[in-house]
Structures are given as structure tokens and as C-alpha cells.
Symmetry: C3
Subunit: 163 residues, 3 copies
């Protein structure tokens, strides 16, 4: 502890929870076309192993720097990557607010993503932490940065849809 909880009003708290929940549900319901819309035009989305993140190493599994790159990834996932179909399900803990101000919010949250293939038991696909920088826009809160730092280096097959 040591420092007080950053002040955040109820409307901001609710909007933050809604952003997190809506993001996860869009991915889990297969509404991938909605994914880039959670980000600002210039943004940073990264999927990176915890080992690399903690050592300050640059290598990421995925790294995108604009909404246009996210749209390109959606195109890849939906139209070009050949993969065994599966469903995924995020369960995300409450966000831990690190900073909140006029420019936006810095927060993080732990997640687990479960993957279910047809005729198979659910498995843990990924578990880790979101490290986020969120900004206010006329359309509401958006991710300027969403870095998904996953604990499990070993992934069964591949991660296709975003985390």
C-alpha cells in the first residue's frame, strides 16, 4: 500500500468497468470487427510474455501501433488464418487504478482466458495481466495502450484471436 487510492469518481469507475467488460465480451462473442474501436487512432497493443516484459526485452508475440494495424489483424484472423475453431472466454478481475486524471487513467487487471474447442474440455489459453493507459475521447474511454502480459510462455497451438 503506502499510497492512497487515486481518486476516481463513480462515473469514471463505471465507464472503466464497462470498457473492460465490453472489450472482453466483444472478443468472446466473436465480434472481432469491434476490437479496433476500443483503441485510439494511434495506440499500442501488445501481447508479450511476462519474461520478456520484466527483463525489458522488446520481443512481443503481437505488437500493433495504430487502429489501422488492428484492423489489418482482424482481417487476418477472420479471412486468412487457417485454424481449428474455438471459443474463448475472458474472466477479468476488477481494475486496479494506478492513476486517474484529466488526461485519462492508468490501470491494470488480472485475467484468465479459457479456450473451448468443439467436443473437448475447456482449457486455460492464457493468464496474465493487462497493463493499460486509457484516455478520454468524445466517444468515451479508449485504450491508448493495452499491453497483455501473459504468465504462460507455453501456449497450446497458437493465439489467434486477440486477448
Amino acid at each position: 500500500m503506502g499510497s492512497a487510492t487515486p481518486h476516481i469518481g463513480f462515473e469514471d469507475w463505471l465507464a472503466l468497468q464497462a470498457l473492460y467488460a465490453d472489450y472482453a465480451m466483444a472478443l468472446d462473442q466473436g465480434e472481432l470487427h469491434r476490437w479496433p474501436g476500443f483503441f485510439t487512432e494511434v495506440c499500442s497493443y501488445r501481447l508479450q510474455s511476462r519474461e520478456n516484459f520484466e527483463r525489458g526485452l522488446p520481443l512481443c508475440t503481437l505488437a500493433f501501433e495504430s487502429r489501422a494495424m488492428l484492423m489489418d489483424r482482424v482481417h487476418g484472423v477472420v479471412d486468412t488464418i487457417y485454424h481449428d475453431p474455438y471459443w474463448q472466454r475472458h474472466v477479468v478481475g476488477a481494475p486496479r487504478v494506478l492513476e486517474a486524471g484529466d488526461e485519462g487513467i492508468r490501470s491494470e487487471a488480472s485475467y484468465v482466458v479459457l479456450r473451448t474447442k468443439r467436443d473437448a474440455m475447456p482449457e486455460i489459453l492464457s493468464t496474465g495481466r493487462y497493463v493499460d493507459r486509457i484516455v478520454r475521447t468524445p466517444e468515451g474511454l479508449r485504450f491508448a495502450e493495452r499491453h497483455c502480459i501473459f504468465d504462460n510462455d507455453l501456449i497450446a497451438n497458437s493465439i489467434i484471436a486477440p486477448i
Copy 2:
């Protein structure tokens, strides 16, 4: 995104979170007799595979239409079904509010339910999404509809206690 977060006041938000948490804890602590009390007299509880739900097919694993039917199910689970004992544990994400008004709230949330049998490791029993319609009653918020849409068609053994 595209649409704003529905307006919901703090008291409603707290009551919604309390309803979700109390529901899950009642089931996990084996207080099954409390389960029908979370619903309105006429209600809809369904446990349905995602595959059937998304195709609009009617078949459900469980489907009840009144509190009396829920009470009958409790009687079945507690007094008549012979099954290997297990404990279950819900971990539920924050609700995503879709509508909130004078009549009530429409919301959904992702869940995972873990099952632990004596002398065995915990397993993922069910993972999916609650799709809820909640109404205001003199006793507080109650489920008019709780539809549990599970991702995993394949279930080890059976689902005995409600999800």
C-alpha cells in the same frame, strides 16, 4: 462501442454486484434452498449450450419457468439425485450493463465454475456467459431471466447443482 454506457446509479450498481455475488456464493456454499429466492415468481432459468443458443435452437440442458419449478429442482438435487459429491466455485466477471431503467436492468457477465472432488485436483466444470433480465421488487433486485450459456458442450459427468 458505438453507444454510450447506459446510465446506472451507484446504488443500483452496488445492488447488481451484490445480487451476482450473493447468487454465486449461495450455490458455492451449498445453500441451495436460497436459490429460488433470487428469482421472481414467474421467471426463466435456462442452462443452454452456446451452440444451440446462437443457432436459435430451443433445446436446453435445464429450463425452468417459475420459482416453483426451481424449488422442485432443489428438491431433486438435494434429496433424490445420486451423485459423487463435489464442491463448486464461481468466479464471475463484472456485469456488463446493456439497459437500465425503471423496470429493471439487462446485463450479462462471463463466468467460470470450478469443480473440486474429494482427493482430486480442481477442474473447469463450466465456462460461459450469464444473460440476465433483472427486475425491481419490494425485496430488491431479482432475476426475471437468468440464461446460462455455456461454451463447453462437453461436460465431465453431469451438472448437478445450478450454475
Copy 3:
């Protein structure tokens, strides 16, 4: 249901969520030195099987009664216990508030803790329920009691870091 949700204001709710999230993140990020600081000077931390808890049996896997004992445990975990390294990840549901007043808050929450070893898939290390008594201090909310009641008697290897 039966009883109304205890009244808790937004500031308290936010502080409670922050306490839970900060606690979990400190453990998951390996900041074990921060762990005793979440408790009051005289406190009760217990890690106990659900079976023993529900039967009122005293045996716990871990039981500490002061912040000094917690500091001693941290010393043990960090400096003396020889174990295979692993990362852990808490995903914790929203707290269910049982009492809230001037002295503090009684609440509980369901959790799952995942463990990931290098070059291995994530596993469910522990799942269960926090049973907490939280008090107000000049530094903010602190645990006077945090009892971790785990469903799974069987634990692969050992629990090293706190839950």
C-alpha cells in the same frame, strides 16, 4: 437474499475493491515484502481447507497472528524455502459485503489462483473463498482477518507464496 445489501458508500466500495486488487497484484507480481502491510499489527491470516473450516476443526495449512509473523513468513519464502520457481495469478470476484459500519467491513469473495511454471501449461493452484474482516486505519483499509478457505484439499506440490 432475505436481508438488504448493507449500506456502503462509493468511496468505501472503491477502497475495498482497491484493497482486494492491490493485495492480489502484490502477490502475483512477486512483491512479497508488501504483503504484511495489507494487515493490521495484530491480525489473523489463515489458509485452511474448506473441510476443516466447515467442521470447525482448528488445523490450518498456515496460520499467523501478527504482522511480525507475516514478515517472518516472507523471509521464509524469499530467503530459505527451496522450491521450483513459478508465477501465480489471482482472479478474484467482486466482494460480497456482509457488514459495513464505522469499525469496518466484513466481506468475502471467491478466487482462483493459477500457477504457471516455466515451460509448462498454467494449472489451477487453489480455488476457494476469502473470508475477511477489514478495519479502517489512518493509512486506509487493512485486513484484521483474512481467512483463505480453499476447496481443493489436494495441492500439487506445495503452496509457497501466500494466497
